[in-house]
């Protein structure tokens, strides 16, 4: 069982990474990654929703029949997103002002749905929860890296405005890598999202090839 959990962690973070291996969640992965901070915020919000909805689907999996599973999954994801949205608005208002913009977008991300279908619908609660959590964290890492590359090349900064999202203590990680006006604006615009995401997918596959791993192709779980 222990090796099973290890696989879940490795799959989520690297081997079967939602963005770089499965090529899922492309919309937020490209739209929300104009900076590392934005990518990180979107990733964390997604990870919370994924962990919660995977757990719920795993708990209720005995009651969800094959025929209605997709509407029920969507219902659960949408409900979790709304809960997170309301709770953050009420009790974490400062954070909500920064992240609030991203949260409704999680509903349209097909990565949570894919994990519910491929994993949580067939597995017990704890592994499902971990799968949702680590897939979400893998998504967070991917979005942060894409955001960082785009921010450095496009704006010359790294983790700009991180203190707005994470609190004043994180002022220290706000960095300027390139002098102002050195950035290539296109990298922050939509084309930059495609370029960086594509290049990082290549980089990830090259690393996997070097390590002699078999490459997991996108859409391996046949979810649109």
């Amino acid at each position: 069982m222990a090796s099973n959990y290890k696989t879940i962690v490795k799959d989520g973070l690297w081997d079967n990474n939602g963005v770089f291996s499965m090529l899922l969640g492309m919309c937020p992965a490209m739209a929300m990654t104009t900076s590392a901070t934005n990518g990180f915020g979107m990733g964390v919000a997604t990870a919370v929703v994924m962990a919660a909805s995977s757990l719920l689907v795993a708990v209720f999996r005995g009651f969800i029949t094959q025929e209605v599973r997709i509407p029920v999954f969507i219902l659960i994801v949408a409900a979790m997103v709304t809960l997170v949205d309301l709770a953050m608005n009420a009790w974490m208002h400062e954070l909500y002002k920064v992240l609030g913009l991203f949260i409704p977008l999680i509903v349209s991300n097909c990565l949570p749905l894919a994990r519910l279908e491929a994993f949580a619908a067939k597995q017990p609660a704890l592994p499902s929860f971990l799968d949702g959590l680590f897939m979400g964290l893998g998504f967070t890492i991917a979005l942060t890296v894409i955001g960082a590359v785009r921010e450095i090349t496009g704006n010359g900064t790294l983790f700009a405005d991180a203190s707005l999202l994470l609190g004043p203590a994180f002022k220290a990680i706000e960095m300027r890598i390139l002098p102002a006006n050195m950035g290539v604006l296109m990298m922050i615009l939509p084309p930059g999202g495609f370029l960086v995401t594509g290049l990082l997918v290549v980089v990830k596959r090259m690393i996997d090839l070097r390590a002699g791993k078999e490459i997991q192709m996108g859409g391996a779980h046949s979810v649109a």
């Binding site: 104009t34 029949t65 709304t82 809960l83 709770a87």
Partner: protein, 198 residues
Amino acid sequence: MSKTHIHGVILGTFCLGFGLVLAITDQLTADDIAARALEDRQNSLSQVIPDGIHDNNLVTDTFMIKDAAAREITVYRARSNGKVTGVAYEIHGTGYAGDIKLMMGIDADGKLLGVRVLAHRETPGLGDKIEVKKGDWILRFTGLSLGNPPPERWKVKKDGGEFDQFAGATITPRGVVGAIRGGLDFFAANKARLMETN
């Protein structure tokens, strides 16, 4: 019960269950969310109307007025010793990704006391420099009025006006400048009513 019915019942039960959870959460959070919204309004009002010019509570001293498009506008009044020293109201501009909601404060002479963005959906990293947290562009408007700069210069530089656009984002500042211009026109058209003491 046929198989189809069972599926319907299952789906319906889940809808009911999660609907209930959402309704309860909505109830639980409604008061807090309303309180946060009020705090936000108070904050944004205090940013566009300096404390020095009023001795009343801005959030509660309001009245409604219709603008040229017959939209209801809530006007917040600043008073000192009963006399109206300034007003604040929400204005709307059209940005790159929809409506930009702003609050502007204006003194009795029609001079801008300040403008702040309340809500927008502009591109993070590009259009969001209109927020005071991410740039001081919006501070540029303080002290300006309909005659300063002249009306035909109330545009972004790209359109032959006075105000900077952002690299990679022209539509956002254009929408904001247009909205402020509209807000100033609204003040000029309704000045008598806005300055009434009751």
